[in-house]
C-alpha cells in the first residue's frame, strides 16, 4: 500500500488540483476554504504556476474564464456568498463551453451565515444558480481522500464535457484531517484544446462566445448543451452503494452526512436492523437509476441532509410514489448525530406506507 | 497623381469624408446604395492629393487611397 499522509481536506483538494495539472488559481478569501488559496499561493509559484488573489469573486471567475479560454487547467474556490457572486460567470462559462473547477466549501445561508457545516447550496449547485438552461457537473466528496481524488476527476469531467465542474463540500470536509494516499496522476494528460485562444498562428482566427443571433442558432446551441447533459447522465454517474440487496430501509445521503449515516447504520446493525446506503458522488448527474432500482426493491427510503430538503427532490423524482420516502434534515449548521439518524431509521420502519 | 476609391455599398453616408477632404472633392450622392444610405462619392478625382484624410476619418473603412 502506498504511503499515507495526514492532510486537511482543503489541502488535499489543492494537492489534487496540482496532481491534475492545474497550474492556475484565481480566488478571493472566504472561510472555511482559505487553506486552499493559502496553500496554492505558496506552492504554485514553485512549479511554474500562477496564483492571483483576485479583487473579488466576480474577478476570480472571470479570470478563470480567461485562463480556461487560453487553454489552461484552472480553478477557483469559495463559499456561499462568493459562489453566488460567480453565477453570472459560471453561466457564461457553461454557455461558452469552457472547462474549469469551482470549489464550494459551503457555509450557512442565506446571507452571511456562519461557517458551520451545511448542505444548503445543493439547489444552487445542481439546478444552476446562474441564468439559463445549463447545469454544472457537481461532485460531492465524503473524505479527505476524495477531496484529493475527486478534484482530479472533476478536472477530467470538466474537460471531457467542456463544462464547469464543481466540488461541493462543507466545513467538515474542508477542515478535517485524514490519512490520504497521494496517488501519482497517471498518464491521462488534459485533452487537447483545439478551441483554445492561443493566437491565430497557422490557423483561422477563432472565438468564444455565448450570443447567437441568426435564426435558430441559439436554440441549436442550447440543444447541443442539453445533449451533453444527457450524455453525462448516461456515462458519468458516480455513487457508492452499500447493502442495496437485503436491507429493510435504504438511506440516501451525500458528503459529510453520509459519514454520519454510516455510523448510524453500524449502530442499527448492532440492533439487528439492516440499513443500506446510496451515497451520490455525482450530484449532477444524480444517480437516479440506482436510487430507482433500489427503492423499488427495498420500498423504504430515508433521505438525510444538512438543510431543509433539497436533494430529497432528486430522490423523489427518481422513485415510484409507492415507495415510502422520509426526509430528515437539519439546516443552519445543525449537524444530525448518528443517534438522530438511528431514530429516523426506526421511524421510517415503523411508519405505514403513504 | 493620386486617387481614392469609395466602396459605394460599404459607405453609410455619414459625410465625415466630405468634411475631411481639404480640397472639397467629395460629396454625397443622390441615389441610395443597397444598404439604403446615400453614399459618398468622389466628385473630382483629378485634384486628389492622396492625403488620405478622408480614409482616416471613415468609420466604415470604405475608402482606399492610391498614389
Amino acid at each position: 500500500m502506498a504511503e499515507k499522509t495526514l492532510l486537511k481536506g482543503n489541502i488535499a483538494l489543492a494537492q489534487g488540483a496540482i496532481a491534475a495539472g492545474c497550474r492556475y488559481y484565481f480566488g478571493y478569501p472566504i472561510t472555511p476554504q482559505n487553506d486552499i488559496p493559502e496553500y496554492l499561493s505558496a506552492e504554485l509559484p514553485k512549479i511554474g504556476g500562477t496564483f492571483i488573489q483576485a479583487e473579488s469573486e466576480l474577478a476570480s471567475i472571470n479570470m478563470v474564464m480567461g485562463a480556461s479560454a487560453a487553454g489552461a487547467r484552472v480553478m477557483t474556490s469559495s463559499s456561499g456568498p462568493g459562489i453566488s457572486l460567480m453565477q453570472e460567470g459560471m453561466s457564461y462559462m457553461a454557455g461558452s463551453e469552457l472547462p474549469a473547477l469551482v470549489v464550494n466549501v459551503m457555509r450557512v445561508g442565506p446571507g452571511l451565515g456562519g461557517i458551520a457545516p451545511t448542505q444548503g447550496d445543493y439547489f444552487q449547485a445542481t439546478r444552476g444558480g446562474g441564468h439559463g438552461d445549463y447545469f454544472n457537473i457537481v461532485l460531492a466528496p465524503a473524505s479527505v481522500q476524495e477531496m484529493f481524488g475527486l478534484a482530479i476527476k472533476a478536472f477530467d469531467l470538466s474537460d471531457k464535457y467542456r463544462n464547469p465542474a464543481m466540488i461541493l463540500c462543507d466545513a467538515v470536509l474542508g477542515q478535517m484531517k485524514e490519512p490520504v494516499i497521494l496517488e501519482e496522476r497517471g498518464a491521462e494528460a488534459p485533452p487537447a484544446r483545439p478551441w483554445a485562444l492561443t493566437g491565430a498562428k497557422g490557423r483561422k482566427p477563432q472565438f468564444l462566445k455565448t450570443l447567437y443571433l441568426s435564426d435558430g442558432e441559439q436554440e441549436a446551441h442550447n440543444l447541443e448543451l442539453k445533449g451533453k447533459y444527457d450524455l453525462l447522465r448516461k456515462e458519468d454517474v458516480l455513487f457508492e452503494g452499500k447493502g442495496l440487496d437485503d436491507s429493510e430501509v435504504v438511506i440516501v445521503a451525500f458528503g459529510t452526512v453520509s459519514r454520519i449515516v454510516k455510523t448510524a447504520i453500524q449502530m442499527a446493525g448492532d440492533e439487528g436492523i439492516r440499513v443500506g446506503l446510496i451515497r451520490p458522488i455525482t450530484l449532477f448527474p444524480f444517480p437516479a437509476e440506482v436510487v430507482r432500482r433500489t427503492a423499488k426493491k427495498i420500498r423504504r427510503v430515508l433521505v438525510v441532509e444538512m438543510n431543509t430538503g433539497q436533494m430529497v427532490e432528486d430522490v423523489r423524482l427518481s422513485i415510484e410514489d409507492k415507495v415510502k420516502l422520509r426526509f430528515y434534515g437539519r439546516p443552519g449548521g445543525g449537524i444530525p448525530t448518528p443517534e438522530d439518524v438511528l431514530r429516523e431509521i426506526k421511524v421510517t420502519l415503523d411508519e405505514k406506507g403513504f | 497623381m493620386a486617387k481614392i476609391i469609395i466602396d459605394r455599398n460599404r459607405c453609410k453616408g455619414c459625410g465625415f469624408c466630405v468634411v475631411a477632404c481639404p480640397k472639397d472633392l467629395i460629396r454625397i450622392d443622390k441615389e441610395l446604395n443597397i444598404q439604403g444610405y446615400l453614399p459618398a462619392m468622389i466628385a473630382d478625382n483629378d485634384n486628389c492629393t492622396g492625403c488620405a484624410l478622408c480614409a482616416e476619418v471613415c468609420p466604415d473603412v470604405a475608402i482606399e487611397v492610391y498614389k
Binding site: 485562463a67 468564444l208 | 465625415f16
Partner: protein
C-alpha cells in the same frame, strides 16, 4: 499607382452593424492598424466587453472572446497570465468599463497587467438604447435622465483616464478623440503607443477614445462630431495623463 491607404489585414472585410458615422468603426480600424503595424496578428487575443462592440470577433482577424459585461479586464488577466507572450487587449464602452466594470479595470490596472485597454467613451449606453452612462455630461438628456443629468441625483461624469493615471500599475493613460481627421491621426498614434508599450511589457496601457453615439444622442453624424468637440472635450480634456518611460519601474 500604389495603394497608400487600405483596410488593415487584421480587420475582416465585411460590413459592420454600427450606425452610420459611429466611430466604433474607426476605433476598430485603429486597433487593427496597430496590430498590423507591429506584425502581431497571429499572437493577438481580443476581449470584447458587452456593448455595441460585442461583435468584435466578427470584425477582427485574430482570436477573440466575449467577456461578461464589465469583466473584460479580468478575462484578459486570465488570458495574459497563461500566455504572457501574447498581445491581449480589451475593448470596452463607458457602461462596460466605467460603470459595471469599475472594480475590474481599477484592480487590473493596479496589478499592472500587461494588457491594452481600448475605452470608448460616448457618454451613453449605446447598445441598450441610450441610457445614462457614468460619463454622461451634466444636463445631458438620456433615456434614464429624461430631465437631464443632475449631479444631486445622478452624480458626476467620471474621468477614467485621469483616475487610472493615479495608479502605479498603469504605464500609459491617454485620452484622444475621433471627431475629425486630425484627431483620428493622433488617436492612431496613441493606440500604437499603447500596443508598443504592451509589447515592451511595461504595465497596463489605457486609451480613452471620445466618440459620438449619434443614434442615441438623436443627432446627425456630423452634428455628433461637433458635439464631441464642443461639449465633450471641454470636460474630457484630451492629453496624456501618464506615460512611463522605463520598464523597470518602482
Amino acid at each position: 499607382m500604389k495603394k497608400v491607404f487600405s483596410r488593415p489585414k487584421s480587420l475582416v472585410d465585411c460590413q459592420t452593424h454600427f450606425c452610420p458615422g459611429c466611430t466604433h468603426g474607426t476605433a476598430h480600424r485603429l486597433v487593427a492598424d496597430a496590430i498590423d503595424h507591429f506584425g502581431v496578428r497571429e499572437k493577438t487575443i481580443g476581449v470584447s466587453g458587452v456593448g455595441c462592440a460585442v461583435f468584435m470577433y466578427d470584425y477582427f482577424a485574430f482570436d477573440a472572446i466575449e467577456a461578461p459585461h464589465g469583466r473584460a479586464p479580468a478575462v484578459a488577466t486570465g488570458i495574459k497570465r497563461v500566455h504572457p507572450d501574447k498581445i491581449v487587449f480589451t475593448y470596452q464602452g463607458d457602461g462596460d468599463l466605467a460603470s459595471i466594470g469599475t472594480s475590474e479595470i481599477i484592480h487590473t490596472a493596479n496589478r499592472g497587467e500587461s494588457i491594452t485597454v481600448i475605452f470608448i467613451n460616448n457618454t451613453v449606453y449605446g447598445m441598450t438604447g441610450g441610457q445614462m452612462a457614468p460619463t454622461t455630461l451634466l444636463g445631458q438628456k438620456t433615456t434614464t435622465t429624461p430631465y437631464g443629468r443632475n449631479f444631486r441625483n445622478d452624480g458626476y461624469p467620471i474621468r477614467m483616464a485621469e483616475m487610472l493615471a493615479t495608479l502605479e500599475g498603469v504605464a500609459y493613460s491617454t485620452r484622444v478623440s475621433m471627431h475629425n481627421a486630425k484627431e483620428v491621426l493622433k488617436a492612431k498614434k496613441a493606440v500604437r503607443k499603447a500596443f508598443e508599450m504592451q509589447i515592451a511589457d511595461m504595465g497596463l496601457t489605457f486609451v480613452e477614445l471620445l466618440s459620438a453615439c449619434h443614434t442615441n444622442w438623436r443627432v446627425k453624424p456630423l452634428e455628433g462630431q461637433k458635439r464631441v468637440e464642443e461639449e465633450m472635450i471641454p470636460y474630457f480634456t484630451l492629453g496624456v495623463f501618464k506615460e512611463r518611460k522605463e520598464k523597470d519601474f518602482l
